[in-house]
Structures are given as C-alpha cells and as structure tokens.
C-alpha cells in the first residue's frame, strides 16, 4: 500500500470530510438549535425548500474557505502546489466519478418518489432527497480517490 498521497487524493479526502462537516453542522443548527420551529414545520414543503436553498450557498462558501485553507496547509507541509490545469486523465476520472454519482442520485430520487407512493410522510421524501444529495457528493469524491489511487 502506498503511503504518500497525490494532491488529487488529498483533495478528495478533504472534500469528503468538508461535505460531512458542513452538512452535519447545518443540520445540527436547523434541527437542534431551532428544534421547536423546525419540528413544527417538518411537513411543510416550504421548510424543506428553504433548507435546501440555504444549504447550497452555505455549502459553497464553506467549501471555498476549506479549500483555500487546504491549499495553504498543503503548500506549507509539502511545498506542493495545486496543478494549474486538468489533463486527459483528470478529465476521464471526473467523468467516471460523475457517472457513479449520477447513478446514486437516480436511486435516491426513485426511493424518494416511492415514499410518496406508499403514503409515507412528506418529510421522508425530502430527507431521502437531501441525504442522496450528500451521498452523491461523497460517492463522487470516493470514486475520484479510488481512480487516482488504483488507476484504471
């Protein structure tokens, strides 16, 4: 097993951890700190709509900050700079990772629809949709990590 990781492998790990951290903190804020309000509105589509619409910009800004911190720490620790361009291998890996993550999201979307067919509460559909969004992101990064590590 190789021990030294390439820049792309490290970036994939940072991305997985940051996705989990951002989603965890945001969910904790919504469902624990604002517990009373959230639980009273849990079956309102508007609540879930705003949950997703706020999560997206929060996630983008937090990821940019985490990525900049990663670049600085990685540069100090290893003196390695981020590649300035994507070559054919990077593009192929990106395509394969996107394909895998789309499969996962499609399954999540179908499961979310099933919850409504079998008369489960509305919130179950949104929970599955949002969770599959998170799992999709993680599968995308795991696929990249695997393909950079093992080759193809």
């Amino acid at each position: 097993m190789e021990t030294n990781m390439s820049y792309q492998e490290k970036r994939a790990i940072v991305s997985i951890l940051s996705s989990l951290l951002i989603f965890g903190c945001y969910s904790f804020y919504v469902f624990q700190i604002n517990q009373e309000e959230s639980l009273s509105r849990i079956n309102e589509p508007g609540f879930w709509g705003s949950f997703i619409l706020i999560l997206i910009p929060v996630s983008i800004v937090a990821k940019i900050i985490i990525y900049i911190l990663f670049l600085i720490i990685n540069k100090i620790a290893t003196n390695e700079s981020a590649p300035s361009f994507e070559d054919e291998r990077d593009k192929l890996i990106e395509l394969k990772a996107t394909r895998n993550s789309h499969y996962v999201f499609a399954i999540g979307f179908l499961l979310a629809m099933v919850t409504q067919v079998i008369d489960m509460p509305l919130y179950s559909m949104f929970i599955i949709l949002i969770s599959s969004g998170l799992v999709t992101e993680i599968i995308d990064e795991i696929s990249k990590f695997y393909l950079y590590r093992r080759g193809f």
Partner: protein, 80 residues
C-alpha cells in the same frame, strides 16, 4: 484493477535522456506530473495522442516506448 496489458519503458528512456525528471517530461507533453507517475506505474494507459507525444519527446517510435502483450489479452483470447 487487473494487470495492464500495456507496459512501457518511460523510466528507462528518461534515464537515458539526461535523467529527465517526471516533471520535465510532463511539461513537454502537456500533462501533470501525476499522470506521468501513473503511466510509469502502469496504472493508466494514455490516449494514443499522448503516447505519440511521449515517443516524439524521446525521438523514438511508439513501440520503443510502449509494448502490448496480445497473448495475455482476455478479449483476444475469447475471440479465438
């Protein structure tokens, strides 16, 4: 991942070209150093275009850089 059927002599060729570094080769053929590392370790089979570019940098033929073991190819074996 199964063993690659395409092997290469890039490391040896770099050595015989004034100990060219992976980064120097990467810069000459327009890819990242990581891609050269992956090709040398046979973790990635480059596109035909990149393979020709690598051969051009070493002023040699494609066959001198890359070799292909047809006898071990499961697709060819299954078609026999």
């Amino acid at each position: 991942m199964g063993k690659s059927l395409v092997t290469n002599n890039i490391r040896k060729l770099r050595f015989h070209h004034d100990e060219m570094t992976q980064q120097q080769l990467a810069d000459k053929v327009g890819v990242t150093r990581q891609t050269i590392v992956a090709i040398e370790k046979e973790k990635y089979s480059p596109s035909l275009e990149l393979a020709f570019r690598i051969a051009f940098v070493f002023s040699t033929s494609l066959q001198e850089v890359f070799s292909y073991d047809a006898g071990e190819d499961p697709i060819l074996k299954s078609k026999k």
